[in-house]
């Protein structure tokens, strides 16, 4: 029996180890100065020590966390509200929700392009304000995209994230047993109370999954920050890219050290978040 399980899992475990684990191992090794293109070196932690002295890195980390948190939280909130609104529609009309698939299909590069088209200082919104006579030069339009605020990136992530959250949350909601709600209402619960104690608890697992996936994706993603081109301070991924491709080989371990820290953060975050969500769930049930 046990033999069978291992055999059944082998087609996945082999490539998992050969590609994912091996790739990670090499990232880790190079961050410690081993197996570099210039030849094998000696194991050292100096590149990690260098990270703690790098002030720009702190700013990049802060921007990455900021963008990841607000884009994920906004997407989950927006997706939940949209899912609830669609849920209230008659099933035939509910099909209009299919347009949200556009956001899922458009690649991140294209979504970032849309943000550029709409919100750059010479973009469409700026043009509209000019025609309305509210501004007279492009410079008067607030510089949203290149100030290091991350706002443009958050908007781009939202356009991808809202339909994703809608998909996950809608899948639970549209299959929801309506009798549960009717019973709650019959027993005298108001609409708010019904939502709070009957509907929401059943949506929470999907909301948590959506949040964790979107948060970690935005945290480590490259495409959108690259197109929207903010580099002072850039997202962590842009910083790694710059060190990796635009500086000399001797700095590569530093890029790998940042990547290792990002991996550990993502793995630990996913684990702790899951624990936390399960704990909160158990605690709420006790009440």
């Amino acid at each position: 029996m046990r033999h069978n399980v291992i055999l059944g899992l082998a087609p996945l475990l082999l490539p998992y180890c050969a590609l994912f684990c091996a790739g990670l191992t090499l990232t880790l090794a190079q961050s410690m100065g081993l197996f570099l293109p210039l030849g094998p070196g000696e194991a050292t932690l100096e590149y990690y020590q260098a990270l703690t002295r790098d002030q720009g890195l702190g700013l990049s980390l802060r921007l990455s966390l900021f963008v990841a948190f607000f884009s994920a939280a906004g997407s989950v909130l927006g997706g939940t509200v949209l899912a609830l609104a669609l849920w209230r529609m008659p099933p035939g009309l509910r099909r209009v929700g299919v347009v949200s698939k556009i956001g899922l299909i458009l690649p991140h590069v294209a979504v970032a392009f849309l943000v550029l088209l709409m919100l750059s200082q010479t973009g469409l919104v700026s043009s509209a304000l000019f025609q309305l006579g509210l501004i007279s030069t492009p410079e008067e339009f607030p510089n949203i995209l290149h100030t290091g605020s991350g706002l443009g990136m958050i908007l781009a992530f939202l356009l991808k994230g809202v339909p994703f959250a809608l998909l996950l949350i809608g899948a639970v909601l549209f299959g929801f047993d309506i009798r549960l709600i009717q019973t709650a209402r019959m027993l005298g619960a108001g609409p708010l109370r019904t939502f709070w104690s009957v509907t929401l608890p059943r949506l929470l697992p999907a909301m948590h999954s959506a949040f964790i996936i979107l948060f970690l994706y935005a945290f480590g993603s490259f495409d959108i920050p690259f197109v929207l081109g903010e580099s002072h301070p850039g997202m962590l991924s842009i910083r790694v890219f710059d060190i990796f491709f635009h500086r000399d080989l001797s700095q590569r371990p530093q890029a790998m050290a940042i990547l290792t820290v990002m991996f550990v953060f993502a793995a630990v975050f996913a684990m702790l978040y899951n624990r936390f969500a399960a704990y909160m769930d158990a605690w709420r049930r006790k009440l």
């Binding site: 029996m1 069978n4 399980v5 059944g8 899992l9 082998a10 087609p11 996945l12 490539p15 998992y16 590609l19 994912f20 091996a22 790739g23 990670l24 191992t25 090499l26 090794a29 190079q30 949209l82 609104a85 209230r88 529609m89 209009v96 929700g97 347009v99 949200s100 556009i102 299909i105 458009l106 690649p107 590069v109 294209a110 392009f113 849309l114 550029l116 088209l117 709409m118 469409l124 043009s127 025609q131 356009l159 339909p163 970690l216 945290f219 480590g220 490259f222 495409d223 690259f226 197109v227 991924s237 790694v240 990547l259 990002m262 991996f263 993502a266 793995a267 996913a270 684990m271 899951n274």
Partner: protein, 260 residues
């Protein structure tokens, strides 16, 4: 119209961008501060006169994305069954570990993997790109198939085996038809992930693997917004066309089976 606000929000979020893309594609010279573009067909004409690089990029992306779907399917079909039907110690941990490649930043392992690929000659090749794309996308296929197996249950398989069908025949005639929706769902996500990835194709493919994202990228960062918008629209149309074909195919397949 109680539901008008919802419709407006949906239209604003998802239809307006497409409208902007269509207008921009039809008006390459659309510039600040004009609000209404002067339409022209320069972009279409440009693609029609020099279709070579565009078609190479499109077929390249389609090719490695479909190959990624096939590879992830063959990687996960047996493991999904094992995960759905057997319980063993450390199963939850293993499931968590197997989800990691889709959760952690792809850069973290792909940059190390790039170095290995250079050493073994897989860098700058299509197989290398397919392998790395499979790594970031298989968790979606695994999840879909595991759910599919769990929903199906073992009864059909046991029954068919008792009636004397071989393992292979059980898979083909009993399990496969019931798993098709799960495969289609997982395959759609895997295709989208592979088709829209820019960075990994750029890193592992190194410019010698033609990709649609790689073709689009210089267009949208340069001043040629009209052509960029046109290519983005194709980007939207190709997956939609594929999904429609897939839906129709599944529908006809099921109707045929029912008639038999």
């Amino acid at each position: 119209m109680r539901h008008a606000p919802t419709m407006l929000v949906l239209a604003f979020l998802f239809l307006l961008p497409v409208l902007v893309l269509i207008l921009q594609a039809g008006a390459p010279g659309w510039r600040y501060p004009e609000l209404w573009p002067e339409l022209g067909l320069d972009g279409v004409r440009f693609l029609a006169t020099r279709p070579g690089p565009f078609l190479t990029a499109l077929t390249g992306s389609l090719g490695y994305s479909l190959a990624t779907v096939v590879l992830t399917l063959s990687m996960t079909i047996l493991p999904a069954k094992a995960l759905a039907y057997s319980s063993f110690r450390g199963k939850t941990l293993l499931e968590g570990l197997l989800l990691l490649p889709a959760l952690v930043p792809a850069m973290t392992f792909s940059m190390g993997l790039h170095f290995i690929f250079i050493k073994i000659g897989l860098a700058d090749t299509a197989p290398g790109v397919i392998l790395v794309l499979s790594m970031i996308s298989y968790p979606y296929m695994l999840r879909a198939l595991t759910t599919g197996y769990t929903l199906m249950g073992r009864e059909y398989e046991i029954c068919a085996r008792n009636l004397g069908a071989s393992k292979w025949r059980v898979f083909l005639e009993v399990e496969l038809p019931q798993l098709l929706p799960a495969m289609a769902a997982g395959g759609s996500v895997v295709f989208l992930v592979a088709f829209s990835e820019y960075f990994l194709v750029f890193l592992i493919g190194g410019g010698s693997v033609a990709s649609f994202t790689g073709y689009l990228f210089p267009l949208i960062t340069s001043s040629n917004r009209g052509l960029g918008a046109l290519v983005t629209l194709v980007f939207l149309a190709v997956p939609i066309a594929l999904f429609i074909v897939l839906e129709l195919g599944l529908y006809r397949y099921h109707r045929k089976r029912r008639m038999r």
